[in-house]
């Protein structure tokens, strides 16, 4: 009996060993809150390939520090789906594999999302390639438009129009509101949904080289005014003032008339909230024009991983037409421009607006994105709350302007 048991175990061990040597098992981390797109792509890859990808979801707010500490402790995963804005900082720290030669050998390299590749490039070497694309768009609830006597098929084209519509929707009742944003110091939410107002009008919050803070512009003043007035007229739920991003998708509750959301949310609205009848359009600028924030994730490889061949094979699968189709179905826009039309054929037409947004979208390039923008205690996050909800708008501008500049200077 004992002998048989021993034999069985040794055979099992042998199988395990041989299995491991035949196929690689790639460890990969992905942040939460990006929908199911990547998860489904991994499932389909694993079922059709010998190499396997094991995916770990890490809370989006902790991914950067977890990855950084894992690198420091030698426990880092082979590859990572990294919020692209962090790509420059990690590349500069010398923690990522240089992908330049391999990337340039890909036949479709030139049609990969350009802002992703730009963020993945540090000192002319490429350290990150696009994995998922997300843009911010303006959404309106068609049912509430109809109830408020507005034309549900007509997309608003200016903030005057949005504010007027918001007032009509607010008049519908106690708990119906015209507009929503996460205004409680959520830097990430506000850079995503609020800066397009400024970009669309031709201004920016940082200079092109990222070395000067240019927060205090007439365009930003106008944008702040637009939001302040909507808050003052009680068109925005009171909870927005302290929402640190946890309720970012309030639009899904069906009682918000209008909100700027992300393309991932289009996917989850379509698949998980089919009862919400909504339209999407580009976010108008404060004084004309349109813009969007090009966000999403870059695919990065930890420096020195022994499984680099398997990781590359997986990424090539993601870029294949099959891979792109699965990602798009669950809300991630195609990263390859050359086959975007083919990939999106037959999918929800509203995703097309997300694609259009790519051509007008911007992404700030800075090594200090976390410090300046995303941190809940950074100058941008507190500026948005102070300027929109505070009593001293001028003070909010001058404080944030000087604090941003001092953070930029200390990082030089």
């Amino acid at each position: 009996m004992f002998k048989r048991l021993l034999a069985a175990t040794s055979i099992a061990t042998l199988c395990l060993v041989s299995g491991a040597s035949a196929a690689e098992k790639v460890e990969m981390w992905v942040r939460t809150g990006v929908g199911d797109a990547f998860k489904k792509a991994v499932e389909s890859y694993n079922s059709s390939h010998e190499n396997q990808v094991s995916m770990t979801e890490v809370p989006f707010s902790e991914l950067v520090q977890k990855y950084a500490t894992a690198i420091a402790g030698g426990q880092a995963p082979d590859a990572l789906s990294m919020d692209l804005i962090y790509n420059p900082a990690f590349a500069a720290a010398g923690q990522l594999e240089d992908l330049t030669d391999w990337a340039k050998s890909l036949p479709y390299f030139n049609s990969l999302s350009p802002s992703h590749v730009k963020l993945g490039t540090y000192q002319d070497r490429i350290y990150g390639l696009p994995l998922s694309v997300e843009t911010s768009v303006f959404a309106w609830n068609k049912d509430l438009y109809k109830k408020a006597g507005l034309d549900p098929e007509k997309a608003p084209t200016s903030w005057d129009e949005i504010a007027t519509n918001a007032e009509k929707i607010r008049a519908l009742g106690d708990d119906t509101y015209g507009f929503y944003f996460s205004g409680g110091g959520c830097g990430g939410c506000m850079i995503f949904t609020f800066t397009p107002l400024v970009w669309g009008s031709g201004a920016d919050i940082l200079s092109a080289d990222g070395k000067t803070a240019t927060l205090d512009t007439p365009e930003m003043r106008k944008a702040v005014d637009i939001y302040r007035n909507m808050v003052k007229k009680d068109l925005v739920p009171a909870g927005a003032a302290s929402d640190n991003g946890a309720n970012f998708l309030s639009f899904t509750n069906g009682k918000i008339g209008q909100q700027s959301i992300g393309a991932f949310a289009i996917g989850s609205l379509v698949t998980e909230h089919p009862d919400i009848n909504f339209g999407v359009t580009l976010i108008p600028g404060a004084t004309g024009g349109t813009s969007s924030f090009a966000g999403g994730d870059n695919f990065v490889i930890t420096k020195g991983t022994p499984k680099i061949a398997a990781v590359k094979e997986f990424l090539e699968y993601i870029y294949s037409e099959d891979g792109q189709k699965i990602m798009a179905k669950y809300g991630s826009l195609p990263t390859r421009g050359d086959i975007a039309d083919k990939v999106l054929a037959g999918l929800d037409p509203r995703l097309q607006v997300g694609i259009q947004a790519i051509s007008v979208a911007k992404t700030p390039y800075t090594l200090q994105f976390n410090d300046l923008i995303n941190s809940a205690n950074g100058p941008w996050a507190s500026f948005t709350n102070a300027a929109i909800y505070g009593d001293d708008v001028d003070g909010a501008f001058s404080n944030a302007q000087s604090e941003m500049q001092s953070i930029i200077d200390s990082g030089q």
Partner: protein, 305 residues
């Protein structure tokens, strides 16, 4: 001469040395733990604080530059200021609630152990859990406090308690008092129970009134207990982090960044581990100084009757 002296002293010294050696063995496990988990990390933190030590990438020796930087760091100064403000307010609030409660539950009366249990109950809830609970209670739409005020007609519309500094600070103070007062009450209760009833009785026979008995008998005899409760409360308040992180993420416009919160931000948001380490050493120095002052107060208490 020396040989003679040592010969006569040696048996005595041997006898004296043995208990000392044995005592060392007894405390060795505790010492090992303290050295491994306190002394060594502190030394390492001190070493880190002398470097430019990013979370990723190489480290660079910069001497005392991190400490110099601290003095010009306006955000650190405002964090210190806020922490001091919070410590003073919350300590006064805790004692103002805990002392009457201790006197209330000290007397033998019906259901006294039930009262004690109920008042002590929040103490066993973790601080992070309690913070999350209060985030919900204070929620403007789906919470309890705001909608209750509205239902009672005390407010036109449900107020967003966490949106302005004053109401958010008040909410946190109330939460901490609810959570901590029971613990302070138990400490004060032991002090109250240690006062011999003969003394109180004698004072009463001498004609001392209720206030006189409290002022001249109870308070002086509880000096040591009060000092202990004070040290625990002050140290805990200076190290406050969870409630601000969870309930307000630093408060409206960053006005609720405590020192520990700032150290956390510097270390793990800005990745400046070296500067974070320097700030930690500074905080350690501040805490040691405050505790020395308080222990000195405690010794004064010993000398007096």
């Amino acid at each position: 001469m020396t040989g003679y002296g040592s010969k006569t002293l040696s048996p005595q010294r041997k006898r004296r040395r043995r208990p000392g050696w044995r005592g060392l063995v007894y405390i060795a496990p505790a010492m090992a733990l303290v050295i491994l988990f306190f002394v060594m990390p502190v030394i390492f933190t001190g070493w880190m604080s002398l470097h430019n030590w990013p979370l990723m990438g190489g480290t660079r020796w910069i001497g005392f530059k991190n400490y110099v930087r601290m003095f010009h760091d306006a955000r650190f100064m405002s964090a210190l200021q806020f922490t001091a403000y919070y410590t003073v307010i919350v300590t006064i609030a805790i004692f103002a609630i805990a002392f009457p409660l201790a006197i209330f539950v000290e007397k033998q009366r019906r259901f006294v152990s039930a009262y004690r249990t109920i008042i002590f109950l929040p103490v066993v809830v973790g601080l992070a859990t309690a913070s999350l609970l209060w985030v919900w209670l204070a929620n403007v739409d789906s919470g309890f406090i705001g909608p209750a005020l509205k239902a009672l007609g005390w407010a036109d519309k449900s107020p967003n308690l966490l949106a302005t500094f004053d109401s958010a600070f008040l909410t946190i103070i109330v939460m901490v008092v609810w959570k901590i007062a029971g613990f302070t009450m138990i400490i004060l209760l032991t002090g109250l129970q240690a006062i011999p009833s003969e003394l109180t009785e004698a004072a009463r026979i001498d004609g001392a009134g209720r206030w006189q008995r409290f002022r001249h008998l109870t308070l002086p005899l509880m000096r040591k207990t009060i000092a202990l409760a004070l040290i625990i409360s002050v140290t805990g308040s200076i190290l406050a982090f969870d409630q601000f992180y969870i309930m307000t993420s630093g408060g409206p416009q960053n006005r609720m960044i405590s020192v520990v919160y700032y150290i956390f931000n510097q270390s793990f948001v800005s990745f400046n581990l070296g500067y974070g380490a320097a700030l930690s050493i500074a905080l350690l120095a501040i805490l040691v100084a405050i505790s020395i002052v308080q222990l000195w107060l405690l010794r004064v208490g010993e000398e007096r009757p």
